[in-house]
């Protein structure tokens, strides 16, 4: 008997994929999904999770030798700002504890439901349904709490879950008003990584409207910009450009030393292609893990709090104003590049390399909101500012994550403003009790 328990506790449940698979299995059994669906659904979710782990590890392993070489040559440590880089980095940092993120996710969802259920007192309305962002929040918060506070594991999990649950309820409720306005009563709010940003810029944009208000949708955009709507191409191009720029201090000989003799240009092109490939693997994994999750959570929401506002993925805003989304992407990129230049000129020991997600899925939707509330002028100013805030905010967040090896952090608005602010406040509180690391 003891050996069975020891097998369960020490071998079975410390393998993240098996732990999460077990929880998903329980979910199917509770839903009375039937034997075929239960077995196939559980195994696909586990394969999906394994794809995420594989894609994430590979993603990091492409970047690590590059950042190490540049750091050795210049003393500058490079980080990727992208939700998927954060996923990769935090799951690696968590190691065997990665599976705990499933508990954090469940607690967070329960806290969110409770806050909305008692909406009469809490004023909360939004229920976070985006499985892909939710799992990322859970593992990132889990790692932040583990890295910053010396707490027993159960307390770490519970605190992480409560914090994520409060974030989901508050941020989605804040964004609900402006999202309703932008979508002409579309019946949803945003539950992703920038909904506090949507609220913030929704308030700022009307003040920036200027005298002659131009609607982005009345303008004609150059056709080639459409390339950036394609995620597979976009990741490859952006990573080629930014990693290429980052490698300049190494010189051609340095890059070819890194590539083991392959021509520098071929090497850099292949780096872009590889980043995109591992992203595709990661996305496929998230799709296998999260689709059913979203479906069952929506089912629970409709049963328990039918009047709540579903908070969904931010890309749902983009069709309401396609041109503004592209302008938003452009000016967020400009703001980010400007901030990178500032980091370089001021001799910062950190350099941020922006990925596709914060530029496209923060810049785009904030562009849509700013256009609705203030026209082109507001889009330009808000999205440039967004790029600046996200870049410097990520520098701030990086100081709190204490990774053993560098990869990156999300770079999305909320995770580079409100999140590090909350961790900072908790660190002060933790100091009083002597638990802050």
């Amino acid at each position: 008997m003891n050996s069975v328990i020891s097998f369960l506790v020490n071998d079975f449940l410390t393998t993240p994929t098996l732990l999460i698979g077990l929880l998903i299995l329980l979910g199917y059994i509770l839903q009375k999904a039937g034997p075929v669906k239960t077995v196939t659904g559980t195994i696909s979710a586990m394969v999906g999770l394994q794809l995420i782990i594989f894609g994430g590890n590979q993603f990091s392993s492409v970047f690590k030798p590059i950042t190490t070489a540049v750091c050795d040559a210049t003393g500058i440590q490079g980080y990727i700002m992208d939700s998927y880089a954060m996923k990769a980095a935090s799951q690696e940092a968590l190691g065997d504890a990665f599976g705990w993120m499933a508990y954090v996710f469940l607690i967070a969802f329960a806290v969110n439901l409770l806050l909305v259920l008692f909406g009469k007192y809490t004023k909360m309305k939004g229920i976070f349904l985006t499985g892909n962002a939710g799992t990322a929040h859970s593992q990132a918060m889990l790692w932040l709490i583990m890295a910053n506070f010396a707490l027993p594991s159960v307390a770490t999990i519970i605190i992480s879950g409560i914090l994520v649950g409060i974030y989901w309820a508050v941020s989605t409720t804040l964004a609900a008003g402006v999202v309703d306005e932008v979508t002409d009563g579309g019946g949803f709010t945003v539950g992703h990584n920038q909904q506090i940003g949507i609220w913030f810029f929704g308030r700022l944009a009307p003040k920036l409207a200027g005298k002659k208000r131009i609607d982005c949708e009345d303008m004609k955009l150059p056709g080639w910009l459409a390339i950036f709507n394609n995620n597979v191409a976009s990741v490859a191009i952006l990573m080629f450009v930014f990693v290429g720029l980052f490698c300049i201090p190494l010189g051609i000989s340095g890059i070819e030393e890194l590539s083991g003799g392959t021509h520098w240009l071929v090497y850099l092109i292949m780096v872009g292609i590889q980043f995109s490939m591992y992203m595709v693997i990661l996305l496929q994994g998230v799709r296998m893990l999260c689709s059913e999750l979203t479906a069952s959570f929506q089912g629970i929401q409709q049963k328990i709090v039918p009047d709540a506002i579903p908070a969904i993925d931010v890309a749902a805003l983009l069709p309401f104003s396609p041109n503004a989304a592209t302008f938003g992407f452009l000016f967020c990129t400009l703001g980010t590049v400007f901030s990178m230049a500032i980091l370089l000129v001021t001799g910062s020991s950190m350099m941020m390399l922006p990925g596709f997600t914060p530029l496209f899925f923060s810049g785009g939707p904030i562009g849509v909101v700013a256009n609705k509330k203030g026209g082109l002028r507001a889009v330009i100013i808000c999205c440039f500012l967004l790029g600046v805030i996200q870049t410097f905010g990520t520098c701030w967040a990086i100081t709190q994550v204490h990774y053993a090896a560098a990869t990156g952090w999300s770079g999305m608005f909320d995770l580079s403003t409100v999140w590090p602010a909350v961790i900072q406040i908790l660190r002060w509180i933790g100091n009083l009790f002597g638990i802050t690391i």
């Binding site: 349904l129 499985g131 709507n229 689709s291 479906a295 396609p322």
Partner: protein
């Protein structure tokens, strides 16, 4: 086509959250309309690999201009992904004319 079922593909930027939500809402409503359908979702960048599989493609309006509609292909551009009822009604129009066998 898979037997009498139509295949509907949902496309958004990453092929994650937004297309999943559209898929869920539409699936429910197709059931109410008694239309038999297989559904899947993907990103614009990965769409080509599923294009032959799909009878009907539902795509976010901001991505619609990126694709060239092939002959015999049915593509529905969508503004509000949460409008499952409206999207299902669009699908029904196509099914009535071109895939009547999918309706039970």
């Amino acid at each position: 086509m898979d037997g009498n079922k139509i295949n509907v593909l949902f496309v958004c930027g990453m092929g994650m959250g937004t297309s999943t939500m559209a898929e869920l809402g539409v699936k429910n409503n197709l059931g109410k309309l008694k239309i038999a359908a297989n559904v899947q979702h993907t990103s614009l960048g990965q769409m080509e690999s599923l294009r032959d599989w799909a009878d009907i493609i539902v795509i976010l309006k901001n991505l619609f201009s990126e694709i060239t509609v092939k002959e015999g292909e049915f593509i529905i551009p969508v503004v509000n992904v949460m409008d499952g009822k409206g999207i299902a009604a669009e699908i029904e129009k196509i099914v009535d004319v071109h895939f009547p066998q999918a309706k039970g």
